[in-house]
Symmetry: C2
Subunit: 113 residues, 2 copies
């Protein structure tokens, strides 16, 4: 078994455009033997945001800390700790930290087979 604290894993700046004050920690990956999906922890500072984008894979998300808004092309939906979000493939989405504290969320994505 792999067993670590999330802070043992490096916080990296995601290699994508259109974000602000976001880091990602790749908690469980293929390097650990995980073949089907990968668990990441995102951290977004107050005022920061992930890119507004779409892609052909899904997201399974759990809000661990903080609050913010989930935005699609047209609307904004507030979220809080304990919220669960499923983003379908090709849905537009953006996570925005509108609160005063750090935002943390788990985001699981598939490995392409």
């Amino acid at each position: 078994m792999k067993h670590v604290h999330y802070t043992d894993i490096e916080a990296e700046i995601p290699d994508v455009d259109g974000l602000k004050d976001v880091t990602i920690r790749w908690l469980i990956t293929k390097k650990d033997g995980a073949k089907n999906f990968t668990m990441r922890l995102f951290e977004v500072q107050p005022g920061g945001y992930t890119p507004s984008h779409q892609h052909d894979w899904e997201h399974e998300v759990f809000i661990v800390k903080g609050s913010g808004e989930l935005r699609d092309k047209d609307s904004a939906y507030p979220f809080k700790v304990g919220d669960v979000v499923y983003v379908h493939p090709m849905e537009w989405h953006q996570f925005v930290n509108t609160g005063d504290d750090i935002l943390q969320f788990i985001c699981v994505i598939p490995y392409q087979s």
Copy 2:
């Protein structure tokens, strides 16, 4: 997108033997369109535990609240909030709440293809 709070989803007693004071909430499933993996939230009361067992699929786990011990056949490893656990297929594992508060953890498993 699906967007709910975890308490909007029913807490069920898992249909397996060998557990004590455990509930499971199926946060994101095939019913939501998720084809590759499913996110669940386990809640274990103080003194409770999941079964000591093994199976041919993996677990990707994040400890949301509380503390406890992760046990295999021979040893016990303490865990706390923010810990990350990857359980390989066929590894023996059991989550035991040895603390005074409720234990909550996210556990993601694959759908069999």
